[in-house]
C-alpha cells in the first residue's frame, strides 16, 4: 500500500518538475462573498453574490410593480408574458430547453417590482443570461397568446385571489392606507374590470417603458461578479437605454391616509390593523422592533414565545397572527394580520390594541424588548441571507436607490432601539390615524371605533 504522504509528495514533485503550470490552488480561489457586490455594465445595474454553491439564481428585477402600472392589471399582464414567444424562439422551446438544463423559470411581482427569475446549475449561466435578456427585450406580446394562455387562466387566478381572505384584507389595508400607488391591488380581483384595461397592446407599451436600462437590474446569487458582468455585457446589449415611445414611468411619492374598510365575505375572517411604518432604508427601526414585539407567531417549539400577541392569544386555537413591517422604497406599513374564526379574530383584534396600549404605557419588560430587538435583527439578516428573498431585496434596492441594503447600518440602528423609544412610537401610532381593514363575517368582526382606534 502506498502511503498517502508519499503519494502526495511525488505528485507535488511531478508537478514541480513539469514546469510552471499555472494552476490555481485553494488559497488563490476567489473568496466567497457574503453580501452583494454591485457594478454598472454600460448603464445597467448588476449585483452578484457568490457562495461557490452548485446552483445559481439569476433575476431581472424591473421597477414595474403594481405601484407603477398606468392601468390596473398591466403588471400582472406583463408578468404573465414572461417566457412567452420571443423574436428568436417560441414559448414552448424556452420551456423545453430550460427543462433539459434542469432550470426553473418563474415570474412574480410585488407592489414595487417585477421579477423574472431563473434558477439553474452554475455552468448554465450564459444560457439563462441570454434567455432573460431575450425575454426582456424581444418578447413578441402576441394577441393569440394573450387570448389562448393568459386570459384562459385568469378566472382561476381571480378565484384563488378571492379565496385568500387574509390576502384580500392586506390588499384593502394598502388601498385604505395609501389610496393610489402602493394602494393599487396586487392581483386581479373578481369584481374589478380586467379586459377593459389589459390587452396585449397595452402590455407591450408598458413593457417598452419598463424594460429600459435605468429601470431594470440584473441580480445573481451564486455567480461571480466577473462572469456575470461578462455575460450581461454580451447579451443585454439589446435592452434600450430609454423607452422607444419616449414615455416615462409614472411615479408619485407615497402618502399615508388611513381609514377603515369593511368587506363581507363567506370564505373566512381576517382583520388587518395597520399604522404608518418604516421604509426599506430603515427610516424608523423602532417600527421593526415593534412588529416583532407584537409578534403573534412563536419562534420556538411547544411554547407561545415572548411576543405579546402570542402570549395573549395562547388559548385560542386556529388563529393566525402575523405582525410585520411592509417596507417599500419611500414608505412602510406596520401591519398586524389576524385571520381565523370570527370570534377569535375579534378577540385578537382587541388584544392587539391592548398590547399597543401596554407598550405605549411603558409596561413592557426590558427583557422582552431585548428579545424583540434580537428577533428583528435575525429576521432582517435571515431575509437578506435566504436566496429567494435576498435576490428580491437586492434587486428592489438597486432599481429604486441604486444600491443594496446596508445590513451593517440597519442592524446597528435596530440595536439602538430602546424601551423608551418604543413607548413614544406606540403612543404616536395610537394618537395618529390607524388603518383597519376587515373581511369576513361583519356581524361579529369589530369596527375600529369599538377597538379604540382612531381612523
Amino acid at each position: 500500500m502506498i502511503s498517502r504522504s508519499a503519494l502526495s509528495r511525488s505528485v507535488q514533485q511531478a508537478a514541480r518538475r513539469s514546469g510552471a503550470v499555472p494552476r490555481r490552488g485553494y488559497a488563490a480561489a476567489a473568496a466567497p462573498t457574503a453580501s452583494y457586490e454591485t457594478a454598472d455594465v454600460s448603464g445597467l445595474k448588476i449585483a452578484s453574490k457568490d457562495a461557490h454553491g452548485p446552483t445559481t439564481t439569476l433575476a431581472v428585477v424591473a421597477k414595474a410593480g403594481t405601484r407603477y402600472q398606468p392601468l390596473p392589471g398591466l403588471t400582472y399582464g406583463l408578468e404573465q408574458f414572461a417566457f412567452k414567444t420571443t423574436q428568436r424562439r417560441s414559448a414552448l422551446r424556452i420551456a423545453r430547453e430550460s427543462e433539459l438544463l434542469g432550470g426553473q423559470l418563474t415570474a412574480s411581482h410585488t407592489r414595487e417590482a417585477l421579477f423574472i427569475e431563473a434558477s439553474f446549475l452554475r455552468d448554465d449561466l450564459p444560457y439563462f443570461a441570454e434567455l432573460l435578456a431575450e425575454v426582456v427585450s424581444q418578447t413578441k406580446y402576441t394577441t393569440h397568446e394573450f387570448h389562448e394562455e393568459i386570459e384562459r387562466v385568469l378566472p382561476y387566478k381571480k378565484a384563488a385571489v378571492n379565496a385568500d381572505v387574509a390576502g384580500l384584507a392586506l390588499d384593502n389595508a394598502h388601498a385604505v392606507a395609501f389610496h393610489s400607488g402602493l394602494g393599487a391591488a396586487l392581483n386581479p380581483s373578481t369584481t374589478a374590470p380586467f379586459q377593459k384595461y389589459v390587452n396585449e397592446e397595452y402590455v407591450a407599451s408598458f413593457a417598452d417603458v419598463v424594460y429600459s436600462k435605468p429601470n431594470i437590474a440584473v441580480v445573481a446569487d451564486g455567480a461571480g461578479s466577473q462572469a456575470l458582468s461578462k455575460w450581461v455585457d454580451q447579451f443585454f446589449k439589446g435592452v434600450p437605454a430609454t423607452a422607444s415611445s419616449g414615455q416615462t414611468l409614472k411615479t408619485e411619492a407615497s402618502k399615508y391616509f388611513g381609514g377603515e374598510q369593511r368587506t363581507s365575505h363567506t370564505a373566512g375572517n381576517a382583520v388587518v390593523i395597520a399604522f404608518p411604518g418604516s421604509d426599506a432604508a430603515g427610516s424608523k427601526p423602532e417600527i421593526e422592533v415593534l412588529a416583532t414585539l407584537l409578534g403573534g407567531q412563536s419562534t420556538i417549539k411547544w411554547a407561545p414565545g415572548f411576543s405579546l400577541l402570542s402570549k395573549a392569544t395562547a388559548g385560542t386555537p386556529g388563529l393566525s397572527i402575523v405582525s410585520s413591517n411592509q417596507a417599500y422604497s419611500d414608505a412602510g406599513l406596520l401591519t398586524v394580520q389576524l385571520s381565523g374564526a370570527a370570534a377569535s379574530v375579534r378577540k385578537a383584534a382587541e388584544e392587539t390594541v391592548k398590547a399597543l396600549k401596554a407598550i405605549a404605557a411603558g409596561t413592557v419588560s426590558k427583557e422582552d424588548v431585548a428579545k424583540a430587538v434580537a428577533n428583528a435583527k435575525f429576521n432582517l439578516l435571515e431575509k437578506a441571507g435566504t436566496r429567494g428573498s435576498s435576490v428580491l431585496l437586492a434587486g428592489t434596492g438597486l432599481v429604486h436607490n441604486g444600491k443594496v441594503q446596508d445590513l451593517v447600518a440597519l442592524t446597528k440602528s435596530l440595536d439602538a432601539v430602546t424601551a423608551d423609544k418604543l413607548k413614544t412610537t406606540a403612543k404616536a401610532l395610537l394618537d395618529g390615524k390607524a388603518t383597519v381593514s376587515t373581511v369576513g363575517d361583519l356581524f361579529v368582526l369589530p369596527y375600529a371605533e369599538e377597538l379604540g382606534l382612531r381612523v
Partner: protein, 122 residues
C-alpha cells in the same frame, strides 16, 4: 406535393410572363364570382386550420362567415352574384394563410421537440 411556385418566384422574368395567365386562372376558377376569397376555400377540417380560425379578429371572422353563407345561397339558387359584388382581384388577399403557416410551424415544432436534445455552444 411538388410545387413550381418557388422556382418561378425566384425568376422575375418568369413571374412577369406568367402573371397574366395566373390572373386568368384565378378568375376562371369561379370562386370570385361567388364573392369568396381564396383563403375561404381552405379545408377547415383539421387542427391547424381550426386554431388559425380562432385567431382571426372578430371582424375578419364575421366577414368570412358572411362570404361563405352568401356563396352557399348562390349555389342553392344556381346563380352567380351580380358583377359589382364579385371579389375584385385586389380584394383577394391572404388573411388566413399567414396565420395558418404560423400555426403549422408551431405544431411541427411541438412534434419535433418531443425528442429534442440541446447542443451547448458555450
Amino acid at each position: 406535393m411538388v410545387s413550381l411556385a418557388p422556382f418561378v418566384l425566384k425568376r422575375p422574368w418568369l413571374v412577369k410572363a406568367l402573371t397574366p395567365a395566373a390572373n386568368w386562372y384565378a378568375g376562371a376558377s369561379g370562386y370570385r364570382q361567388l364573392g369568396l376569397r381564396y383563403d375561404d376555400l381552405l379545408e377547415e377540417e383539421n387542427e391547424a386550420v381550426q386554431i388559425a380560425l380562432k385567431r382571426l379578429s372578430a371582424k375578419e371572422s364575421y366577414e368570412r362567415v358572411y362570404r361563405i353563407r352568401r356563396s352557399v345561397q348562390c349555389s342553392y339558387t344556381h346563380k352567380l352574384l351580380p358583377k359589382d359584388q364579385w371579389t375584385k382581384p385586389e380584394e383577394d388577399v391572404p388573411y388566413l394563410r399567414n396565420i395558418l403557416a404560423q400555426v403549422e410551424a408551431e405544431l411541427a415544432e411541438k412534434d419535433a421537440l418531443d425528442s429534442m436534445t440541446v447542443i451547448k455552444k458555450h
